[in-house]
């Protein structure tokens, strides 16, 4: 009956059964879909766990790969992956944050130009990772002369996650209530101070969340890294060394190395565990940022 208020055209008085079936259908669909998805997810995760768990122990994490990765561990792979991520974040985060601040705080003044930036970011977000790989190879490895290196890979990933970081940071900044902007302006506080001291700390959870998404995407990346950070599974000594990222390792083990599957699953398990760790760390950081006790800087 009350639905008639919202569906004047479709509702007939006393047609409750219709709604009963409709409600039941929606309800069952939602439940079934959720259970299906979670089921597939558990299946996937269980599969990886079942096949990978026996491989993963402390030894696996701290030893070097042997026999093309069939045996041995993945220590250098983890180090390379982390270094690539560090480079990517160190570049993408400041750049992304600055761009996001421009888009959210100055968008009105920028007009068409800012809209152009927005559009190009949307496209950038959709550029296939393999294209980033091609670009990174030609631009960073060859043109800039960085060769196959962790630096090239990290910079390529930075390009790739930049739109994600920017868009999440932008929406985070936009969600900061205007009253703080007005309050700061009314005190004669400059825009730069407002952004740096008030808006960015206030948006910290969103910024961290965006960064997490970026890291997740970057960690899982294969296509862009084969052509940039390379294939060398030795412990890197610097970011100028070539280093094999964990997803490249997984790909090589499954597609190119006979008998590599067990270690591939082990590595996949480690990768997922790393993602969980990073995710929880980010959540913790975000919460801490919210109710932190600021020092008298």
């Amino acid at each position: 009956m009350p639905d008639a208020v919202l569906y004047p055209g479709s509702a007939r008085a006393g047609s409750t059964p219709t709604f009963f079936w409709r409600n039941l259908a929606l309800q069952s669909f939602v439940w079934l879909a959720s259970l299906l998805i979670i089921g597939v997810f558990l299946w996937l995760l269980g599969d990886i766990l079942w096949r990978g768990a026996s491989r993963v122990d402390w030894e696996f994490l701290i030893s070097v790969p042997k026999s093309a990765g069939r045996s041995g561990g993945i220590a250098p792979i983890i180090v390379s992956t982390v270094l690539i991520l560090v480079v990517a974040i160190a570049v993408a985060f400041p750049l992304g944050l600055a761009t996001a601040a421009l888009l959210s705080e100055y968008a009105r003044q920028g007009g068409a130009k800012v809209r152009g930036v927005g559009l190009s970011l949307d496209v950038l977000a959709g550029v296939p990772s393999i294209v980033f790989g091609l670009f990174g190879n030609a631009f960073f490895c060859v043109w800039m002369g960085l060769g196959f290196s962790i630096l090239s890979g990290g910079l390529t990933l930075a390009c790739m996650i930049l739109p994600i970081v920017i868009r999440t940071a932008e929406s985070g900044l936009r969600m900061v209530p205007d009253e703080w902007r007005l309050g700061a302006a009314a005190l004669g506080v400059s825009r730069s101070t407002t952004i740096v001291r008030i808006l960015i700390p206030a948006a910290a959870p969103a910024l961290v969340a965006g960064l997490m998404l970026g890291i997740g995407r970057a960690m899982a990346e294969t296509a862009a890294l084969i052509f940039t950070s390379g294939y060398v599974d030795r412990m890197p000594r610097s970011v100028f060394d070539s280093g094999r990222a964990i997803s490249v390792h997984i790909y090589d083990l499954t597609m190119n190395v006979a008998g590599g599957d067990p270690n591939a699953y082990g590595s996949a398990l480690v990768l997922i565990a790393l993602l969980i760790v990073i995710n929880s760390a980010a959540l913790w950081l975000a919460n801490r940022a919210l109710d932190r006790k600021p020092s008298r800087s």
Partner: protein, 279 residues
């Protein structure tokens, strides 16, 4: 706080950069072999070359051998362009590649594989050609079950494909493939997961996988069993050399690496990667 963290992070990276830049310019010491050697090319050989490199590094701590994967064509191109000192090429050099010199470090056979559920155990060369051309599309035509044939072919540019098409005098565009694959293991996984598939992969890995219980079997060619042994003694004809190629006469580190890769010291590594060591 986030800002500080970001600053810290950037600073750490910069420091890292500075330190490593310094480290990279460190003069080499008096060890027998030093410096960096870049090797690129065939994904088939890359794991082997990588292992050989590691073993050579063990005795020469200042030597760094970086192996990058790709394809034979990339090995050739990178050596020509000077991007790599040594290229990995998993086939004989072509007529237009005479500017390069090849050093064979191992041999590899390519064998036809079927799923173990497939009752067919022998195919003639003509039957294989007809299957790949789509003239035979059902296993019952060659004595098997009544089931459509899944033809697994390699992607364009792979040297395994070159070898296969040359041997059977096929033109790639005439092949009616149902699945096109990239690397070797994808072929094995595809055939293992499909009762009616036919594919061709590296014999050594196929033997290994078969021993491990993967449901695939190798077919003999012209009556010769596809085995590592028959590749070694030369009776199995669908085989190829695994080559290191260089532009100029090798010297210094390059020569040492090539010599080492051809020596007895790495036989166990060659076998470990399921290739056939040189006689």
């Amino acid at each position: 706080m986030i800002r500080e963290a970001a600053l810290g992070l950037s600073f750490a990276t910069l420091t890292l950069l500075a330190v490593t830049a310094f480290a990279a310019e460190e003069p080499s010491t008096a060890a027998p072999l030093s410096g960096q050697l870049t090797i690129t090319g065939a994904s088939t050989i890359a794991p082997l070359a990588s292992e050989i490199g590691k073993r050579l590094e063990e005795t020469n701590p200042d030597l760094r051998i970086d192996v990058q994967t790709g394809g034979s064509a990339r090995g050739v191109a990178d050596v020509r362009a000077g991007l790599a000192a040594i290229g990995l090429v998993s086939r004989n050099l072509k007529d237009d590649e005479t500017d390069l010199t090849a050093f064979t470090i191992a041999r590899d056979g390519v064998g036809i594989i079927l799923n173990t559920d497939n009752p067919v155990s022998v195919l003639t060369d003509e039957q294989i050609v007809d299957i790949y051309l789509g003239k035979i599309a059902n296993w019952k035509d060659v004595g098997g079950k009544d089931a459509p044939i899944t033809v697994v072919n390699k992607a364009e540019g792979r040297s395994t494909l070159d070898l296969f098409t040359n041997y059977f005098k096929l033109k790639n565009s005439d092949i009616k493939a149902s699945v096109v694959i990239g690397d070797n293991q994808q072929g094995i996984k595809t055939v293992a997961g499909n009762h009616n598939a036919i594919g061709y992969v590296s014999i050594g890995t196929a033997e290994f996988e078969s021993e491990q219980g993967t449901p695939i079997k190798l077919l003999p060619l012209k009556g010769v069993a596809a085995s590592v042994e028959n590749v070694r003694n030369g009776t199995f004809s669908l085989a190829r050399p695994l080559n290191l190629v260089v532009k100029a006469a090798p010297e210094g580190t390059v020569k040492s690496f090539i010599d080492f890769a051809q020596s007895k010291d790495v036989r166990d590594l060659v076998k470990e990667q399921f290739f056939v060591p040189l006689q």
